[in-house]
Amino acid sequence: MRQLLLLRRSLIAVRFSSYSTSSKATISHDLPNTSIPTENVDITIAGGGLVGSAMALAFASSPIFKNHKIVLLESQSKLPKVSKNQSYSNRVCALNAQSINLFEKLGTWDLMKSIRVQKVSRMQSCLLERLKQFNIEPRLNSRVKSFENEENSIRIKLQDEKINLRTGLLIAADGYQSSIREMARIPTMQWNYDQFGIVATLQLADNMPDNIVAWQRFLPTGPVACLPLSNTHSSLVWTVPKSMHKTLMNLSDEQFVDEVNKAFTSDVYKKNGIISITERLRSYWQQVIPVSSTLLQYPPVIINIQPKSRAAFPLSLLNSNQYVAPRLVLVGDSAHRIHPMAGQGVNMGFGDIVCLMKILEQAVRDGADFSSLTYLVDYERQRQLQCLARLLSIDSLNRLYSTKFSPIVALRSVGLSFVNEFSPLKKFFAKQAAYSS
């Protein structure tokens, strides 16, 4: 309840805090260190990950921003390289309709071979390849050391101190531990759970040419999901209580495969009393509404996991109280983070890009300075509403699963079996998942 109240406060606080740029506006024009040259750019994007590079690409391919100078900073010294024979990395994400639409617009959907479930590394290299066509190369080893607002710009000092940047707009896409967010002193709200998400790349027993269906089972310990990668491989996302994750992580690969198969098929993870209630309901519903045959699907049988693909993440949610400040915008995980469940987080990041581009293009069409705070606030309002709703729904789902209180356990099982049996509802939920960002 307290968290809910906090959440409400952050919603209400959305735009009552006032910004002051004027205090700094009287600072003299003297260079802090004249030996470092200053480069003038229009838009600086900090963070060359998926969201950062897609953001750069969105600007580069926009007819309205084609004459603007875009700089993409990446703090790492290397970018992911992808070869065809590389084993599947453990990071995948299922793109929703909005993200697919974005990639079609950016001209990368064909490069991505039009597949809905993407490996992060491949998406990344497709984005970089497309950026190269617009003559944008990420600047490696470039970490923002500090920045300050000036009269009509932001001055950025970089870690290596070779060059300073003076930019009209700074976009922070530097992940959930965003140092730019910290430097701007933007407060965040965080929820931590006693739960872990275990991910791995699974090898299927059969070569399934129609391995195209995402598969999910709701267990009392948390949902376990299987996302198709190819005809022979799928990606696992398994939510477990903190107490369970160490055991699962310490198992040998063979033992882990056994546990995964058990979680997919057997009733060990289910409670007996609950099963009988849901079974009774199931038969009742089958009398009322005939079960659609397309929904009867057997879970995949797993024979192996890709070596070293198993990893565990603590589950937590984070939301930044502000997504914008004068000449500064947060996108992707630096603004909001959900736990790594099937890449839903990155879909939210792509949703940020779609929204921000729409609003900045409108600003230019209205003759405003593209970094005008009046317009940036519109971005914040729209995204806070979307992202908070999403965080809240995930939060409540998590709460639903973290309780052991029997009536609630019974209710959720009944509720989910209701969803399961009533096919139009199920389709509705699937649609929601696909379209929401």
Partner: protein, 272 residues
């Protein structure tokens, strides 16, 4: 009475009450105290969450209004980034240039005039160097400008946004606008209605109850009803094309179009 007008009126006494620091540099030809003062004024005008926040957000409504009406009646180019290229516009009562600069960014060549010389210096101080070619400011009144033979029938569009409520002789004002406009040129007005609502919210509440503006800054008698304004435009040889109500939400600082003209409204008229 809208927040917009509190902010607008509040600025006038404040601008005048600022005193100059008298310390002067003997070597420079420009008074640094003066420069610093315009820098402060300019950052006050251009602080989008400050006193003029409502004027900044009003741009989201009035710029598309002006742009679309101009393009509909006399489209000149198909340039998506500079749609108002080759348009000559006059912005009456330009203040710090909040409306003037965006119009120049859209490609128009704009003259901003203001009766307060400090506003002109402030607007000039802020002007983006990239815009300077098509952006001019002049400390002059509309009457003086309309006596200049060079200015007669020079403009495709004349804008008087949040200005009419300070004018004594609106009839003469529209007559002068007509002199400066090309035939088929457009005149854009945004102003306040003379209603019970604007009287109670604007005068009684704002000046005497909440003291948001000093008593006496508003003269409700100068507010003008849309029907009276339309009559004056007809009399001066204009046809009114559009007349819409505007609604301001002070909590979100956002404007929207409304059927209700009870407080703020916008009008566009074409010179016959």
């Amino acid at each position: 009475m809208s927040i917009l007008s509190y902010r607008f009126f509040r600025c006038i006494p404040r601008l005048r009450s600022i005193t100059l620091s008298s310390r002067q540099s003997s070597t420079s030809t420009i008074d640094p105290a003066e420069i610093n003062r315009f820098r402060q004024l300019s950052s006050a005008w251009w602080n989008e969450t400050g006193e003029y926040a409502a004027l900044h957000s009003l741009n989201q409504l009035r710029i598309p209004f002006i742009r679309e009406q101009l393009l509909q009646s006399l489209s000149k180019t198909n340039d998506p980034i500079k749609p108002l290229k080759d348009f000559k516009l006059l912005d009456i009562g330009c203040g710090g240039g909040i409306l003037t600069e965006p119009l120049v960014r859209l490609g128009a060549s704009v003259l901003g005039i203001d009766a307060v010389s400090e506003n002109i210096s402030t607007a000039e101080f802020h002007a983006d160097p990239i815009l300077k070619k098509d952006l001019n400011y002049k400390h002059v009144t509309l009457e003086e400008l309309s006596e200049n033979a060079e200015q007669i029938e020079k403009y495709d569009g004349i804008i008087a946004s949040e200005v009419l409520e300070h004018i004594n002789n609106v009839d003469g004002f529209i007559g002068n606008v007509s002199k400066l406009l090309k035939p088929k040129g457009l005149c854009f007005i945004t102003t306040l209605n003379q209603t019970m609502a604007s009287y109670f919210l604007g005068i009684i509440a704002a000046e005497y109850v909440f003291r948001l503006v000093p008593p006496g800054t508003h003269s409700w008698n100068k507010f003008i009803r849309p029907s009276d304004l339309i009559t004056l435009f007809d009399k001066n040889g204009f046809t009114v094309l559009l007349n819409n109500g505007m609604f301001y939400n002070p909590l979100t600082n956002r404007w929207s179009w409304s059927d209700n003209k009870i407080i703020n409204y916008a009008l566009c008229a074409i010179k016959n």
